[in-house]
Subunit: 144 residues, 2 copies
């Protein structure tokens, strides 16, 4: 199977597949006589795994770690569970941040209810006066 077919099967672009190979997430494919990459079922499974992790917004590092666990057949899945728990924590932390943000934005939005000169607009005034509180120095989530 050539790269285009693989990409389509895994719902991603050809470039993404090559990128994963370069990053070491996907093992290098064999090559045909004309230097085309050639994939088998193992590659499909691996790529689907990666894409599913990405669909859950895991980072490449998290995925790399996860793949390391999965590739060790003697190991138990405790580490896998732990990683998923941590990632769930990231997602929940980010949700909390965004809910707080939403609150601030709604409050800001209510400061203006019409069409005024910008000087008189409560939103503009709010943006000038708000107190930027320094963001927590160390983030507990990698989600933007």
């Amino acid at each position: 199977m050539k790269i285009g077919e693989l990409a389509q099967t895994a719902q991603c672009s050809v470039e993404t597949v090559r990128y994963y190979e370069k990053e070491g997430l996907l093992p290098a494919a064999e090559r045909t006589a004309s230097n085309y990459r050639s994939y088998g079922p193992a590659h499909i499974e691996r790529l689907r795994f990666i894409r599913n992790c990405r669909a859950l917004d895991m980072t490449q590092d998290e995925i790399r770690t996860l793949l390391g666990f999965v590739d060790d057949p003697a190991a138990g899945c405790g580490a896998v569970n732990h990683l998923v728990d941590e990632h769930l924590g990231h997602v929940q932390a980010r949700i909390a941040e965004l809910l707080e943000l939403e609150k601030q934005l709604v409050e800001l939005r209510h400061r203006c209810n019409g069409e005024f000169p910008v000087d008189a607009c409560g939103i503009v005034q709010g943006l000038n006066q708000m107190d930027t509180e320094p963001k927590p120095a160390h983030r507990h989530t990698h989600l933007g």
Copy 2:
């Protein structure tokens, strides 16, 4: 006022101030005889505005647009309100995405409740079998 003092006033780093200048968000400062940047009250206000927008997770483009509105004293604030509404939409859309993600992760997490060989782990199986549905082609949010 020198750059370090300005940065401290606005709760950001010196590098960030120079970066905003390079990007055209903050007008270039005057220079002292020894080529140090020298800032006045207008710069403080402008930088605070920018930092407040960033604290609300607006992009540089959104901020640039907003500054354009604010700098036109003849204009009304309708465009400002609209931009804030749109941004609020981004935030809400991202919250919805992350809540869906959380649901999926919780469901996935429940598939394993102990320490099994990875082959037998419901989470690993889940990650292999999930159907990556193609993400909506065009994003309605710039938030990660």
